[in-house]
Subunit: 204 residues, 2 copies
């Protein structure tokens, strides 16, 4: 069944909008719109306003570039966070992932992507200048490069290393090794090789 | 990774709204919202307004109860359609499916569901009174019961039969049989049995 010939232009427009989202086909979009149609008008209005406010009212933190409801995000304005420790991540999903571990008490710097020549993303498309500025102005003792363990991540790490190496800071990366819960048998050889080379003293 | 601790309340609200849609989990909702955030503000505003207008501006046809941009839908107000032929369907998806066949020149009547005691849907929840009214007022020669071939569909068919039987109209249902393109080997026995009993003269 093809969904041509919608009985209503408004319906068709709404289906088109939902179908423009990644991973949502026209059939799914239609199902979502029909679900909205069955709801209370008040609920649907709230849904639409939420979407509109996304762009209108959302801020990007003027220090770390993470998403925020105010000029400066809650992490950067938290007095208890260690501002000498800056964790460089690709996007806000990564900030949330690290925050969820409750292990990190420093601040973040969100690049807004990684260097990827294939996708046409170069260093100038990322928030690298403001990172260097932060480091140059002093007050930063360690920059943790917490990017993906992909070729693009490694390229970006190397580029950042070259930009930041001249300043008097520690440059660190996340520990690589066998993930907790993983069976050795199914761990890829590169990860396992690194885990052997970077072995740690046994802790009870 | 659990998506607790959103850096922004606006973001969290939008994720919650998308996650309320059927088949959309929190991770997918987050991905959809992040996609919207990366777009032009104008595009996102249009998305939101489309959703809001869904309820505010959409009409239900005052004759067949299908979705419409005006008081009467384009099918019911089409002079070329045969108004003596009324096809009873569950919802507007079914109207669209039948319209896509380009085989039907009558009009529709959208029940808005089928009788389903399990889901608490009784005859009074459906647009059955207006159907009976139409038939009673005359001008209808045939009512086609085009409901799903499920237990609920059969129940609704039987209920409609009892309500409409007393009027001077033909009551018909869709032909049941082996679907075009189906292999006999994989056709269920009930469908195949009916197809044998209701066999038609061979047409070249």
């Amino acid at each position: 069944m093809s969904y041509s010939g919608y009985p209503s232009k408004l319906l068709e427009n709404a289906v088109n909008e939902f179908a423009s989202l990644p991973g949502i086909g026209r059939k799914t979009a239609f199902r979502l719109v029909m679900n909205l149609l069955k709801r209370d008008p008040e609920e649907v209005r709230r849904f639409g306003e939420c979407v509109i406010r996304l762009h209108g009212d959302i801020h990007y933190c003027n220090i770390c570039h993470s998403i925020s409801d105010s000029e400066t995000c809650s992490i950067c304005s938290d007095e208890k966070r260690d501002r000498t420790l800056v964790c460089v991540v690709e996007n806000i999903q990564d900030v949330m992932a690290i925050e969820n571990t409750r292990q990190y008490r420093g601040v973040y710097h969100v690049l807004g992507g990684i260097i990827s020549p294939v996708d046409g993303v170069g260093p100038s498309d990322l928030k690298i200048d403001t990172l260097e500025e932060k480091v140059k102005n002093g007050g930063v003792s360690e920059v943790i490069l917490a990017l993906s363990t992909t070729m693009e991540g490694d390229t970006t790490n190397f580029y950042l290393y070259r930009r930041l190496n001249k300043y008097n800071i520690f440059l660190t990366t996340l520990a690589r090794g066998v993930a907790i819960g993983d069976e050795l048998e199914y761990t890829d050889e590169i990860t396992l090789g690194r885990a052997i080379n970077n072995r740690n003293p046994y802790q009870q």
